[in-house]
């Protein structure tokens, strides 16, 4: 598929944010990106007309009940079968922040045995409350995650976070088993690290929310659904990075671009 033919759908809902930034990132890469309200998608659009689906960040429906819980269930009863088909066909789905919460609540992540009826993980409230700042994550995918293939293995990326509920958890009685499966299936994509690149090991500040095993992002076993708490679209252009004025020559792009580039290249090659 040629780049200018690729259509990305950025679903927005009451309370989501950064959809415009995400659209700008895709457009910069030459992709047709449409920001469409979730109700309009339900009523008037065919999900399967699109090649990329993005659930953006934010606080859909005021984070009532739990982050993204309402939106996830609404997607389930309005477009559930199309959504499953989209995923089963290998089309890329990116969930950023609230979008990650949605993919967990809807059972697509971790999705060990395909989509689960009930969530198999949770993004609980942060141990230190709402956090909005830059963090570092290390890329751990060994190649399974199609949406980060342009990111070198072990690369440390700087991206901002902005959330109050991002503490990744597995059920306590199964967390070791589930973690083993994440590694076996190559589903662990990003972990929070310290400035020297070593894992945060739960240490507050470097691990901004108390996430278990410093987990910042995971993908499904097939590698075409990625959820992450940091916002790559807020780290797309060089002038979005916090230190660009201090550099002699500002970088053209930030670390977030690698993720969007990966998504687009995957679609170009695969379809």
């Amino acid at each position: 598929m040629r780049r200018h033919e690729i259509r990305a759908l950025l679903m927005r809902a009451p309370g989501t944010n950064c959809d415009a930034e995400t659209a700008r990132a895709f457009r910069d890469l030459g992709v047709r990106a449409e920001v469409v309200h979730t109700q309009r998608v339900f009523r008037e659009r065919n999900l399967l007309d699109y090649d990329i689906l993005v659930f953006p960040g934010g606080f859909s429906y005021g984070d009532y009940v739990r982050s993204a819980a309402i939106w996830a269930k609404e997607c389930e009863y309005r477009i559930g079968p199309d959504l499953e088909r989209f995923v089963d066909e290998g089309r890329p789905v990116l969930g950023i922040c609230n979008g990650f919460q949605l993919l967990v609540e809807a059972g697509f992540l971790p999705g060990f045995e395909g989509r689960s009826r009930y969530p198999e993980a949770a993004l609980a409230n942060n141990t230190t409350g709402y956090q909005c700042r830059w963090v570092r994550v290390r890329h751990l995918s060994r190649g399974n995650c199609a949406l980060t293939r342009e990111v070198p293995r072990d690369a440390v990326l700087a991206m901002p976070i902005a959330h109050g509920e991002g503490r990744f958890l597995f059920p306590r009685d199964r967390q070791d088993e589930y973690l083993r499966r994440l590694y076996e299936n190559d589903q662990l994509v990003f972990r929070y690290v310290k400035p020297d690149g070593s894992f945060a090991d739960g240490e507050a500040f470097h691990n901004p929310n108390g996430a278990w095993h410093d987990i910042a992002g995971i993908c499904n076993p097939a590698g075409n659904v990625l959820g992450l708490m940091p916002h790559p679209e807020r780290a797309y252009f060089g002038w979005l990075t916090p230190d660009w004025t201090r550099r002699e020559k500002p970088p053209e792009y930030g670390d977030g671009r690698l993720i969007f580039e990966s998504v687009v290249r995957y679609v170009e090659r695969r379809f």
Partner: protein, 83 residues
């Protein structure tokens, strides 16, 4: 018939509960001999059902499908008929 269910949702034991911990510290600061606070959320659900059993089964499913994330939340509910 109409029923009213009061549903209580809280984090399962063993998970840290920042809201409860922060509240406990404040209560201790006020001089109370507080040992622990666990924050919980309550919903009052009014629903139609043909029997009490049907209402209970429906509320139980609501809890598992939307009101809780079974990974981290515990729930319990009380149900009464609305006359």
């Amino acid at each position: 018939m109409r029923y009213v269910a009061t549903v209580y949702v809280r984090l399962k034991p063993g998970y840290s509960d920042p809201e409860g911990e922060t509240t406990a510290r404040a209560l201790q600061g006020l001089g109370y001999r507080v040992i622990e606070v666990r924050a919980s959320k309550a919903y009052e659900v009014t629903l139609e059902a043909d029997s009490r059993e049907e209402a209970e089964a429906a509320v139980d499913e609501m809890c598992r499908r939307l009101l809780t994330n079974p990974t981290k939340d515990d729930y319990r509910f009380e149900i009464r008929e609305l006359r």
